[in-house]
């Protein structure tokens, strides 16, 4: 914007602040390219810059009746634009702190961080109790929990495995009771 355009903007802005509606179009024509270019220089992302520039322009016109004619119109407009850009950047920063997918997962019924912590504690306690059992009992329980049906070593019969599992469970229950006081 050259000096003549700047003077023209100052005159038009003063008239608009006084309520002269005929000054609206000249102010719009002069202000919009400057506001837009300034927003693009502050915000690298095109979409954000366009949003901020439009918001700044609307805010400037909304406040036009409060414009003090002793102030520089261009500086006043750029001040509002800078404020809008800063606000938009801050808002975007806050949105980046927590990704949207995390919010959507939580809303879709995924476990909360507290539930995950409790689950982790229980798994640790179970591992500790399991570690206190004899290796044969651990092997039997792990084989029973395995995905491969019927989950038993092929060298023993099903009835023998059931009996061995029964004994391993009993020992596991008593070991858990001895450590945590409950089953």
């Amino acid at each position: 914007m050259d000096a003549a355009q700047r003077r023209e903007l100052q005159r038009a802005m003063t008239r608009l602040a006084d309520g002269d509606r005929s000054a609206f179009h000249p102010v719009f024509i002069l202000a919009w390219p400057v506001v837009r270019a300034f927003a693009y220089s502050l915000l690298r992302e095109g979409g954000d810059a366009e949003d901020a520039a439009q918001q700044a322009l609307l805010r400037s016109f909304e406040r036009a009746s409060r414009f003090d004619q002793t102030r520089d119109a261009l500086a006043w407009l750029l001040g509002i634009t800078a404020y809008e850009c800063r606000t938009l950047r801050r808002r975007r920063g806050r949105q980046r702190e927590e990704p949207l997918s995390a919010i959507f997962d939580r809303e879709a019924g995924a476990p909360s961080p507290e539930a995950l912590l409790v689950k982790e504690d229980l798994q640790r306690a179970a591992r500790e109790v399991l570690a206190s059992l004899a290796p044969s009992d651990i092997e039997t329980i792990v084989a029973a929990l395995a995905d491969d049906p019927p989950g038993r070593p092929h060298v023993i019969t099903a009835a023998a495995f059931r009996k061995r599992l029964e004994r391993a469970r009993r020992r596991l229950r008593s070991a858990w009771g001895a450590k945590h006081g409950t089953c």
């Binding site: 006084d18 309520g19 609206f24 609307l58 016109f61 909304e62 406040r63 009746s65 409060r66």
Partner: protein, 183 residues
């Protein structure tokens, strides 16, 4: 930006501008509260001060929203209207005015004289408005009459008409005869 988008943005900006002006007009109307309190307190006819006060707020908001000479006329109009309001109030306090219509001649003289003084103020200010002096004169005159009417209700309708005549007879020639002075 496409011309259609630019046009849409300009329309949105225009609406924002009008919204901002209206909001500012309502904010400025808060300054009329002390004047309204004096109007209600000084008038024996509560309905008259109520109607006059409501019309004053409506007119002031409308004129401030419109802006230019109309908006600039509100404050001088209120100032001029306080002359008849204050004069009749002072006369009543000092005991120069009896109950309504018992000293009709005195009441009427006070109203016409105070109206003339208000006209002097309005006419003097209107003469300084250049080409806008007619709109300034009418706007300030209407506001002055609305402010002064409850005070002149001491003398009934004749008091209000007397104030109006005094104001019009002094302000109009003063405003229209003076050569336009650039603002």
């Amino acid at each position: 930006m496409e011309p259609v988008e630019s046009l849409a943005l300009e329309q949105r900006a225009r609406r924002a501008y009008e919204r901002g002006r209206l909001r500012r007009a309502f904010r400025l109307a808060a300054w009329l509260l002390p004047v309204l309190a004096v109007m209600v307190g000084s008038c024996r006819v509560l309905a008259l001060s109520g109607v006059s006060g409501s019309l004053l707020v409506l007119a002031a908001v409308g004129l401030w929203w419109r802006g230019e000479a109309y908006g600039r006329a509100v404050a001088p109009g209120v100032g001029a209207g306080l002359v008849p309001l204050g004069a009749t109030l002072s006369a009543a306090v000092l005991g120069h005015l009896g109950p309504a219509l018992t000293c009709w001649q005195g009441c009427l003289t006070v109203c016409v004289t105070a109206g003339g003084l208000a006209g002097l103020l309005v006419g003097h200010r209107a003469a300084q408005q250049g080409s806008d002096r007619r709109s300034f004169l009418v706007s300030a005159g209407v506001i002055a009459v609305l402010v002064g009417a409850p005070g002149c209700a001491f003398a009934g309708a004749a008091g209000i008409v007397g104030m109006l005549l005094g104001l019009a007879c002094v302000s109009t020639p003063l405003a229209l005869r003076s050569s336009p002075v650039p603002r």
